[in-house]
Each structure stands twice: as structure tokens, then as C-alpha cells.
Symmetry: C2
Subunit: 397 residues, 2 copies
């Protein structure tokens, strides 16, 4: 069993894809180039300077002055776990709003670490109702109120202002999942008084998966410092991690050097484009995509005002085979889109317009490809999808 023929393994050659699923999104050549720069030591002066710059760029994207702002050395789900394990101790009451897979995952984590979960269930595919959160918050003494800004499983966007107010009125910390929203829409951490937030690199930041940007407010740090027990995870203990990312430069674990090169480059591209321009680009391409989808006679899952720009859940028409359509898009057009998750498995497609993938030419190609593939499925799309999308771009000038 330990014998192996090394010649049976070929060179890595994934070919090209257009990544229009729920992430990863297309990674710009500049980011791949940065990723492949020579690896150096995690305590090398050049790398320490790179860490500082990465933090500056991340604060810019999070729109925050939070000192503790850095990429956790693992993917977005580890960022979720990092926020909870650092802020929640055994017995702490935690209100979690759930309207999809990622809110459900938050509940799972809270329970594993012994937090007392107060769960607010909202309809999947809809925004969370702040009144339901308020009711739950008043029924307990929550240390943390947690919500998913952009539910990747459904494409629903939950506005944060009101829930932030409710959390703070109750003296709780406000914890936000912005895995899918960060880099594609406004996530102003300080203005929204968010105390802890985490994201991923592979959505609207358009960097390969592998890191999770996290930011903690001074209040969250106080909670961390006031803990009665050590954080249950050594790896994600931000009290130690920040001694490495902060001025102490105390060795904790070996940073994923090349991934930090990559996120720095991806964040630099974002800074060059400018946040407002980038967010407007996401809104515009989203509107054009939706116009095309609806012109075809397909329907969106989420009501218009609650839709995310970067993640578009499209209802699969009656009689159309989910897996076959996705396979044809991948095989014939090299386009990846996502299937539904949880209660929406087989019911919706998730079409991403994230970061570098979010471009007019991709909207056009996707609409044309989908029309072709649906035709083979026996579904006759109404004509005019491209025209409808074009009209949106024309109106935007």
C-alpha cells in the first residue's frame, strides 16, 4: 500500500474556469503571481512589514480603526469559530439569528463550546426580522448577538443597523458573518458598531481560499481579556495570535506566508479600485443579471429588496434537472455555478457575481450559456435576456 508510481501523477493543470458559484471566485493573475513569490520566514523583516500592510489594507476594507484586524490562518469557517470561541464561555447566553446554512453553523459552534443558545429562526431566503431578534434578546441576558450579513446559502441580505442597536441596548456584543459581503458591498464595521466580524478570502476579495479576515472592536478585546477560562482553541486564541500580529511579534504558529502575500495583493487591487466603485460595480452587474434571468422567464428566490448583489439564487424551473444543467455549464462552457443547500437543494441555483468574477462580460456569457443549456433540457427560455441586461447597463450610462 505504500508503493506508488510517481510517474502516474501529472502536472497540476486545472484548465480555466469561470467561477460564478458561491465561491471561490475568479482570482486575478496579479494575486496568483503574488501567491507564487518566494516563501520566506514568518519572522523575516520583509514578511513582518507585509503583515503590517495587510492589516492596513484590511482595516480599509472593513472601514475600521480596530487594532485587532488580521487574517486568521485558516478558511472562513475557522474565522466563525475564532469569533465565537474567543467571546463565548461555557454558560454564556448567545442569541443567533438563523435564516440559512451559515446561521445554523453558528448555532452548532455555540453549542459545542457550551454557550447557552437562544436561536431566532427566520425564513430561509428572507432577511432576518429585527423585531424577532429584539424579542429574543429581551428574553435573556445575551453576551453576544450574532447574525449573518449575507447568507451564502440563499442570497438574502440582512441589514445590520437595527440589529446592532438592539444588541448594544442589551449590553451585548454584536457579531457579524460577512464572509460573502465583504469586498462586494458596504460593511462599515465602525459605523455599524460591529464588535466582531469574520470573512473569507475566496468570495468578493477574489483571493484563493485559505484565510479568514477577522476584526475585533476594543469592547470585544475587553471581553476577551475578562475571560474566566482559557479559550478552548489554542490555534484560534486571539489573545496569543495578536501578540504575533501586534508589536510583540511573539511566535505563535507559523503564518501561511504565501497566502498572506496573496491576500495583500487582492486587498491592494480593492484599494486601487476604490470601495464605492467596487460596490457600485457589484450592484450594477447584479441588476443586469437579474434583468436577464427574469426576462428568460426564471424567478429569483429572494424578494428584490432583500437580495445580495453578489449571490443570486435562481429558482430551478419545474422539470429541469439541477445536476445536469450545472454539469453542462461546467463541461460545455467551463462555468461553475452552485447548487442549493439544505432545504433549497435541487430547488435553486446559486449564481455568484463576486469580486473579479463580477463583470459585464461574465453576465452576458452566463445568460447565453444558461439559455443554451436550458434549451437542451427542454425548457424554452423567453427571448430577450441579453437585451434586458444590456438595457440595465445602458441606463446606468
Amino acid at each position: 500500500m505504500t508503493r506508488i508510481d510517481p510517474t502516474s501523477f501529472r502536472d497540476i493543470n486545472p484548465g480555466e474556469r469561470l467561477l460564478m458559484g458561491p465561491g471561490p471566485s475568479d482570482v486575478p493573475a496579479r494575486v496568483l503571481q503574488a501567491l507564487a513569490a518566494p516563501c520566506i520566514g514568518h519572522l523575516d523583516p520583509y514578511f513582518l512589514a507585509t503583515m503590517n500592510e495587510t492589516q492596513q489594507l484590511l482595516r480599509h476594507l472593513f472601514q475600521t480603526g480596530n487594532a485587532l484586524t488580521m487574517p486568521v490562518s485558516a478558511t472562513g469557517s475557522a474565522g466563525m469559530e475564532a469569533c465565537f470561541v474567543n467571546l463565548v464561555e461555557c454558560g454564556d447566553e448567545v442569541v443567533v439569528a438563523v435564516n440559512g446554512v451559515f446561521g445554523t453553523r453558528m448555532c452548532d459552534i455555540v453549542t459545542r463550546i457550551g454557550g447557552k443558545l437562544i436561536r431566532v429562526d427566520g425564513e430561509w431566503g428572507r432577511a432576518i426580522d429585527p423585531a424577532a431578534v429584539e424579542k429574543a434578546v429581551k428574553s435573556c441576558t445575551p453576551k453576544v448577538v450574532a447574525v449573518v450579513h449575507a447568507e451564502t446559502s440563499t442570497g438574502a441580505c440582512t441589514p445590520l443597523e437595527e440589529i446592532s442597536r438592539i444588541a448594544h441596548a442589551a449590553g451585548a456584543l454584536f457579531l457579524v458573518d460577512c464572509v460573502t459581503s465583504l469586498g462586494g458591498m458596504d460593511v462599515p464595521i465602525d459605523a455599524l458598531a460591529v464588535d466582531a466580524a469574520y470573512s473569507g478570502t475566496q468570495k468578493c476579495i477574489s483571493c484563493p481560499p485559505g484565510l479568514s479576515p477577522v476584526t475585533f472592536s476594543p469592547e470585544a478585546i475587553k471581553a476577551l481579556e475578562r475571560r474566566k477560562h482559557p479559550v478552548v482553541s489554542w490555534y484560534l486564541d486571539l489573545g496569543m495570535v495578536r501578540d504575533y500580529w501586534g508589536n510583540e511579534r511573539k511566535y505563535h504558529h507559523t503564518a501561511p506566508v504565501n497566502m498572506v502575500y496573496a491576500i495583500r495583493e487582492a486587498l491592494r487591487i480593492i484599494a486601487e479600485e476604490g470601495l464605492e466603485t467596487r460596490f457600485a460595480r457589484h450592484r450594477l452587474n447584479h441588476r443586469a443579471l437579474v434583468a436577464g434571468i427574469e426576462a428568460m422567464g426564471l424567478a429569483m428566490l429572494v424578494p428584490e429588496k432583500e437580495r445580495l448583489p453578489m449571490l443570486n439564487a435562481v429558482r430551478i424551473p419545474e422539470g429541469v434537472n439541477d445536476a445536469r444543467v450545472r454539469k453542462a455549464l461546467l463541461t460545455d462552457f467551463a462555468i461553475e455555478i452552485g447548487g442549493g443547500l439544505g432545504q433549497f437543494a435541487g430547488k435553486v441555483w446559486r449564481v455568484g457575481l463576486m469580486g473579479h468574477s463580477c463583470r459585464r462580460k461574465n453576465v452576458f456569457l452566463f445568460l447565453a450559456a444558461l439559455e443554451t443549456v436550458l434549451k437542451a433540457e427542454g425548457f424554452k427560455a423567453r427571448p430577450g435576456a441579453i437585451e434586458a441586461a444590456t438595457a440595465v447597463y445602458a441606463a446606468a450610462g
Copy 2:
């Protein structure tokens, strides 16, 4: 504070280093090239095939038939945490042998997750004495006996055969840290009856840091399946992670796609070289380096028979400034070596000969550079270091 001038950030350009510290080691161009291949979806058929190949190559390196063998999506310390959080439940007795920083870290993790720690302290810089482990094991009913094969903090190698026998005689699982040894010396998981092991990518595998290869024996999986409580970490719950790496392909978290490309390539290079050839190369360069070091009049920390080939702890001579020497090596020769950790801070240098860094030309360059730098420090090295190293290579033929 959120204003930023994007033009103030330059292109990533770390320049070249010779990485002869405790890791990361030099990454071959082929691995960097694989790392920069286009990112594709974590459920793309090509990527799933890449995962399978990565597992095959990892099993070859671990010399195991263990089905559950894959890279955890975070650095080596997360691999350590993954092994403990999956196998240890609150109240379980765990014997940990400590002869350096990484054994100490194991104890920290066991305590955080509520394990009952039985600590066996050995001298730092020496192998663990199996008799001491046996005594501890007999004093309790351990579920797990854990040991660090290659202590990166000191360069000491602990043989595993005897401790494995002791662990199994007590009915315990045998857990091994092979972060620094895997890929540079023999770590035959099945032959040694190791139940759980973790490593890192950035040592003798010569891939950038970011993943942690882990392997679990069928016995370890049984323990995982017999758990009374959920694993405290959602991210590292191998019961779920293996449903993604196994045939189910059930989505858990988004795999770090490009890092998986990279480790696959690094493992392919290892398979091409062949394990025995690679281990012999590490032994030979180690002997040459030590011959040169000792010829200069410097002393090794670890007794000859307990030394690791890939991590060489050299005592800093009286009156020589640790930081200044390392800085001069880095600045004047672009060579990175490591300082001491814990009780050896300021007392030793840690010189790595790991994976791609472990080459004759590097041994020669390092010896010459160290001699030059020590001279500037006022330490007069005895002549003949290069000659002594050359003699070792000559004798090896």
C-alpha cells in the same frame, strides 16, 4: 482612519532567501508554480481528483494504509489541535511527554479541552526516556499517549518503537507529532503502530506553510466514533472533515484549493526522489554540517545519537551576540537560521536542513558564511570547516 493611498503599497517582492531555520524551508519552483495554477471550485471534478491524489501521495509519505489521511486546512499547530480535540474528551487521561516547546504546547491543548494531563518531563535537548513514559502510563488509565518525534525547539529525536509498545500495552492510542520529521526521516506510521499523527507542510515537505497533514488509524477512528460528546471544534471535527475528503464529498468548509495544489506537487517531488534516497540525503548533509560546525570549534546541543538530521541546534559561543549574528547572516548572505526557544533563547542557533534546503551547496555556503560572521564578532573559528564537511561527503562516495 479608513483612508488609504493604494500607490503606497508596492508589488510583493521578498527577494531570495536561503531558508535554513526551523521552517519554512526553501520551496522548489515547481511547487510555487503549482500554487499559482488557476483557482477552481472545491467541488470541481478536477479538484476532487486532485484531493484523491494528494491523499495517495500522503499515505505513501506516512507509509500507511489509513483511509483518514489528508491535509487539515490550517498550519501544523492546527493539526496538533485536530488530533487532540478529536481523540480527547473532557476527563480523559492523557500522558504527554515533554522535552521542548511543542510537547509543552500539547499540554496546553489537553488542558484547554478538559483532558486530565499526566505530564512526563524530560530534559530539553534530549530524547524522551521510555521508562519515564512507562512509569506515568502505569500510574493512570490513559486514553492517549502523546510524544513529539522531532522536537523543533531543540533538535532532539525521540525514538518511537518503545513508547508505542508502552502505549498499546496500556490500551492507549499513540499520538505523534512529526511536524519536523515527516519527509526528512523515516516515519512509518503503520509499522510503528501510530494511531494519530500530524505534520506541517513547511518543514521537510518544502511546501509553503498553511496545511497540516494528518493521519488516523482505524483504532483512532473507532475512538472518534465512540465519543460521548461532539468535538469541541467544528472546524477541526474530523468526523465531518472526512465526509468531504472521503467518498461522500459532503461540503464542510471550502478547501484551500491552491495550497492543496502545492502540497500535491511537493509530495510528488518526494515520491520521485524516493523516501530512502531522501532520508539518506538528510542524514548525509546533517553529518557534513555537524563535521563543519565541530571543526570550527563550536558544539552541538544534542548528544550525537539523539540528534535530528534536519534540525541542528548549535551552542552559541561565549561572548557572541545571538541576534547580531543572525541579522548579519540574513543581511549579508540572505541566510535565515533560527534562534533558540524557551530555555534555549539566546543559547543556541537552530540550523535547518529541511527538504529542498537540505543540499551540499547550502551546507558549504552556511559554514563559510557563519565563519565570516563569527570573525566580525571577534570569535575566531578554527580553520578547516569546509574540509571537514568535504571529507564527510567524500567518505560517502
